[in-house]
Each structure stands twice: as C-alpha cells, then as structure tokens.
C-alpha cells in the first residue's frame, strides 16, 4: 500500500468511526445510560467515583466523574457553559457560583423537586443556605450539598504536650498550654512557638493571592470583630466592610502574620499544607479535606481545633461544593442527574461517603452521631465548625468582588496601604461592582 493510499484509508476509517460512535449519553461498552459529573481533581472526586458504583448497581446508570485540575476548574466549567450543550450533566461548583448559575440560567432550578425527593431536615441548615439556595433566604434551590466543608486549624499536638513547652508557656502566660478558644489565646501560643532562629514558626494563615485564599483567611477576623461584607438586605457596603469592626479585624489578622514562616503573608492552601508537613509550624489554617493526608503522614503528632472566637463571636469560612444540574443538557439527562442527587443525599449513602478520604457531609444525623465524631481525629472539630459557618458573596459578580478583595487585602498585608485605606478602597470598588450589577440601588 502506498503512503497516499494508507493515509486515505486512515482518514476514511476515522470519518466512519466518528459517524458510528454513539452521540447520545450512553456507555459504549454496556449501552447503559451515562451521567457525567465534572469536579475538581482531588481525593473527594475519587471517592465520589468509587461511591457511584453503588448507584450504578442499584439503578443501572453509569456515572463518570471527570476531574479537572483546580487552577483551571472554574474557567473550564464556565467556558463549557458558553456552549449550546454542556459536556456534563452535573457540575459540582463552589457556593459562590450559585448566583451566577441561577441568574444566567445555567443551573436548573430544583425547588419544586428537591423538597419531595430529598429529606431536607437531614441537611444542616447552613449547608442548605449556602450550598443550595439563591438568593439566600428565598427558598429557591439550585443545588444540593456534595462536599460540605469548612476551614479549621491543625496543630502540633506533640509540641503542645511537651512538658518543657508546657512549663515555659505556664511561666510566661500564667495559664495552661492548650488549643486556643479565643484569638487572644491563639496569639499567645503563636508567639510562644515562633522561633525563626530554630526555623520553627507560630502559625500559617490563609493569605494566598490566587483565587479566594486571602478572602477565606480574612473572613473569620472580619466577622468576629463585628464587620461584614455588606448589609445583606440592601447591599450597602460603606460602614460594613470598612467599618470599625472590619478594620480592627484586619489589624488583628495582620498582627498575627509576624508569627508566620517566611513568605507567610502570601500563603495559600497548599503552601500552608507544606508549612505543617515540613514540621516547621505549630498551628496551620486550612480546609478539612486536606487533613486525612496529614493524619496519614503525621499520625498522633497532629491535633485539630475550631477557628477561635473574638468575644462571643466565632465565625468560620465555608468551603465545599454542591451538585447543580446543567440546563444545557437534555431533559432525560436532567432526570438521571436528579435521581443521582436524591440517592446521594440518603443517610445510608452519606454514611459510606464519609468513609472516603477527605469526604465530609452536611447530614445532621451523621454529624451528631458518636460514630462519625470518632471515625477520624478531625471529625468532631469539623462537626462543631459547621454551626459557625458563613460565606462570601454568591451573587453573579462574585468573581469581581473576590478579585477586588484579594487585591486590596493583599495591599494591606503587604503594608502598601493601612488597613483603613485598604478597606475604604475595597468598599468603593465593591460599591461600584454591586451598583454595576444592579444589586445596590
């Protein structure tokens, strides 16, 4: 066969196979209906793929969980939504995406269906509010919890239990060395363990300049000191995000950065993980799904505590993602998607879900159960954290709001601006964005 003839045959064969290959959402191997889920590339996505095999056995529907690397996940999802039909039936998106998904008609409204198909009383009310509902308090649902998550601290239990450290701490601070309950106690412990000469550091907070790390790191301070992103009813920003409470919160946040490892003023989720696993840092803030890996590597050296409070207020940044059904997939696929979501929310399924590494639940029955709390060393801390969750904006312009927060908070942390100047600028930018979006009148 000549080269030309060979190439012609290859092209002909390729064209034929393209015509023969199934175009409907069916698994070519079994002809079974197939559901495609998009999620970021991490352990819980692997867990979901494994768990979905039970669903396939039960329903005959094949589930494919396609994992997309974190750095490009958001862009890939919304680029795909730009097409007439999406390559996925279900997307597991950030809580912030809800407004954009609902407002732009990308997420299927589940309000009428979900109340009948899912026992909502088993879902933690804050997970309902932040991972399902848009606008908040409207009773309109566009999602269902998949990975309910929060930030929490991991600490060096062995350092805290070291008799010499305990004694030194007692002498200096006149109290016992124990996981902190308040931010003031936290500061003392960070100061105690901060010994740069020994390459040992007090804490690592979330300050990264990528997507939302610095915002998630600042929020517990913003809320605990009495600040807010805005008035939730009127979207009025001035006096909230740049009010006295917010400024005091930012000052407290910045003050703690003196006890971080070098580069601690720009440290994201993964760098914080490094700071703990390299054995240099006493207390590190991160999301719970990263903690199974730490326990696996460091065993009893690692302990966990809830984000501290200031006065009576303890506020914790929400993490995690929820299931949403694409409006740009066929009605038949949407039905399969609903079937899967309803199945996933069942308590017995959730019971298995939380056995996979990094997988957490919003199921109230499980959260209260002793079995859950004792299954992993961080589970009781996680369950306790859920009661204090709050979230960033989930309006359609969340990304611009996030971007302005990142830039202005970053300038405050880098000491380019004072906390008051940075928050005044942030308030002005948020006001402009919210007015532009028609949310602030």
């Amino acid at each position: 066969m000549t080269t030309k003839a060979f190439l012609s045959s290859v092209i002909f064969a390729a064209l034929c196979s393209a015509m023969v290959l199934p175009t409907s959402a069916q698994d070519p191997a079994t002809d079974a209906p197939t559901l495609t889920i998009w999620w970021a590339q991490w352990d819980p996505a692997v867990g979901l793929q494994t768990l979905s095999e039970d669903f396939t056995k039960e329903s005959g529907i094949v589930v494919k969980v396609q994992q997309i690397p974190w750095p490009s996940y958001q862009e890939q999802v919304f680029l795909n939504f730009g097409n007439k039909t999406t390559d996925f039936d279900i997307v597991i998106g950030d809580s912030q995406w809800l407004g954009r998904g609902a407002d732009k008609g990308l997420y299927l409204e589940l309000t009428d269906w979900i109340g009948e198909a899912v026992d909502l009383s088993t879902i933690h009310p804050l997970a309902q509010r932040y991972l399902m509902e848009y606008p908040e308090g409207s009773g309109r649902y566009y999602g269902a919890p998949c990975e309910t998550d929060a930030i929490g601290f991991v600490y060096r239990k062995d350092w805290f239990e070291d008799p010499a450290e305990k004694k030194a701490f007692q002498v200096k601070y006149s109290r016992k060395l124990a996981p902190p309950d308040t931010w003031q106690e936290f500061r003392d412990i960070a100061e105690h363990f901060h010994r740069p000469d020994e390459k040992r550091y007090g804490t690592a907070l979330l300050t990264g300049r990528g997507y939302d790390s610095i915002t998630m790191g600042f929020q517990p301070f913003l809320w605990a000191w009495g600040g807010a992103w805005a008035d939730p009813e009127t979207f009025e920003v001035q006096g909230h995000v740049n009010g006295l409470g917010a400024v005091a919160g930012l000052e407290a946040f910045i003050d703690l950065l003196q006890f971080t490892p070098p580069g601690g003023e720009s440290s994201d989720y993964f760098q914080n993980l490094d700071a703990f696993t390299n054995g240099s840092t006493a207390m590190v803030l991160d999301y719970f799904p990263f903690y199974p890996g730490i326990v696996q590597n460091m065993g009893d050296q690692a302990g966990f505590f809830v984000v501290p409070r200031n006065g009576d207020t303890r506020a914790i940044s929400l993490g995690g993602q929820g299931f949403s059904v694409s409006t740009k997939t066929s009605a038949q696929q949407q039905e399969l998607a609903k079937q899967f979501i309803a199945w996933f929310q069942r308590t017995e399924v959730q019971e298995k879900w939380i056995t996979f590494p990094g997988c957490f639940t919003a199921n109230t029955e499980l959260l209260q159960s002793q079995a859950f709390r004792e299954a992993y060393p961080f589970n009781s801390t996680f369950a306790e954290s859920l009661d204090h969750l709050r979230d960033f904006w989930n309006v359609p312009v969340y990304n611009e709001l996030l971007s302005a927060s990142l830039r202005n908070l970053g300038e405050a942390l880098d000491k380019v601006k004072t906390p008051q100047e940075a928050l005044d600028q942030l308030a002005m930018e948020h006001e402009l964005i919210l007015r532009g979006a028609g949310l602030l009148k």
Binding site: P71, Q74, E75, F78, L79, F81, G82, R100, K104, G105, L106, R209, G210, Y211, P261, P262, G263, G264, E265, S266, S267, D274, A275, N278, S280, V397, N399, E400, S403, L406, R407, G410, E411, D414, V416, Q425, E429, L432
Partner: protein, 314 residues
Amino acid sequence: MPTQGGEITLGRGGENSGGGADADRWLKVGFVAPALLVLISVNIFPLIYSIWLSFTNADLVGGGIRSVGTLNYSFLFFDPRYAQALRTTVLFVALAVGIELVLGYGLALCLRPTFRGKPILLTALLVPMMMPPAVMGVYWTLILNGSFGVLNQALGLLGLPELQWLTDPDLKLVSIILIDVWMWTPFTILISLAGLNAIPASIYEAAAVDRATTWMVFRRITLPMSAPLVGLAALLRATDALKQFDLVMAITGPNDGATQTLSALLYQVMFRDGKVGLASAYSYMVLVVVIALASVFLRYLASLQHRASATEAT
C-alpha cells in the same frame, strides 16, 4: 507553462491564449483561496467580531447581548486594575528587555571571536530560549521557593540572606524579570552576533590603519553598525514582553496585583469575571499600545539604518 528567454511567466499567456488565461486566473484563485479563507476565519473575522463585542455587555456564558456604547472603553479610566496592570507591564518591559539587550550584546561581543568549543557554548546558551515558558515557570517556582528552593539554599551557603522570591511583594516581579532574562537573553545574543558578524572586516582594517582606539572602534563602528539589528531584537522582545502571560500565570497566577500584566488582567476579566465585552475593549487598548510602541521602534530603526548606511558610505 510558457517560458520566454529563460524566465518563467505565470498567468497571462498572451492575447491568443483566451480560455487558457481564464483557467490560469482560476487556478491562482484556487491556490490562494484556502489560505485566504483560513486567514479570514481565524484572523480577520475574530478581529472584527471582537470590535463589535467591545461595544456590548457580552458574557462568557452567553445570555442576551446588548449594546453598551463606549461604556467598556470609558470603564478603563475607572478600573484601578487597568492602570496598575499598565504600570506593571511597562516596568516589566523596560527592565526585562533593557537587561536582556545589555547582557545579550555584551555576551555577543565576548562570543564574536572564533575559539575552540564556540559552537557547543552557543548551543548550550540557546537552550533556555527553546523551552516552553509555562514549563520554565513551573520549574523556576521550585528553584525560587522560599523554603526549599535551590537558590535560597545557595544563598544560605554563601552566608547571604534567604529571600522570599515568590511571596515578597517587592520581589515577585523581580523574579519574573529574572526568569524572562534567563530565557530570552540568548535571543538577543543571537541577533547581536548576527549584527556584529555583518560588519565588514575592511572597516576595522581601515580603523586599524588610522590607529583608532578600541573604545573609538566600538563607539564609532561596532555599535552604530550593529545597532539596526539590536534595535530589531529590542522591537521583537518588547512586543513579546508586552504580552507577558505564561510566566505570570505560573509564578503568581493572574490576579496578583504585584505582577498582574495587561495580558493577565485580560485573562482575569475574560475567563474569571466572564466579561467578554469588557475584555475585548481592554484588548483593543493593549493593541493600541503595542502598535504605538512598534511604530516608534520602527521609525527609530529606520533612522538607525539610515545612519549606518551613511557610516558605511563614508
């Protein structure tokens, strides 16, 4: 195909050829058409389409598009990100290209004489230029890492302070400039060497006869005569550096105020904020800046060429 006097002529075959001429014309059109179609569909159409988009509120995920007039362009003046990104880009271009030119030209002067192992050395010097910038960005994050990076370990061994290259707001842009210089200095070496080698030996011989000093030879002959090609290198590097994106993405991500170049801002506005109309307007403003800069450079190049020709003539 008719030939006359050894010359090959395409197209019109004379008055008598009649239908043959038409066939030739269609043949030519047939040959050019596919390339033209590709050009129109991938270059011209998007260009015109994006002009239209820049006057709309187009969103990445679709929805109703409506005209917003010149709002996107006027928003540029209110968006603090644009001014900041413009400053960062100009600073990056000036420093990175400036260092690359000085360093590249200096190294080209050293590499000009023939010596043993010169081809191997030149090949080795060109390696960074041939690596994909995104891969280099990831690679350099490991070298520059504040905790375990090779650079800080080396600095520590020498008793020098270990710096936070990737997180210190004053050093992030410096790190990106450092990587860009490492990657693209070989390019300026290559172009400068071509310029230096193109200077006729007879001019140096004449200068030697006139007992010109080394400095005079450099200032009056080498520099002015190689300047047009060095200018070309500057133009190519500056237009390329103005679009800096890969390294920024790999080192800090697109949304870090300290390193956000215009291209990174465009990415942020387009793909993260989803504002296609605004991103189109921003990209046209970048295009205006690039065209303005290129025309200034081209004028400068033309004047250099003119001066070099005059020097050669005298």
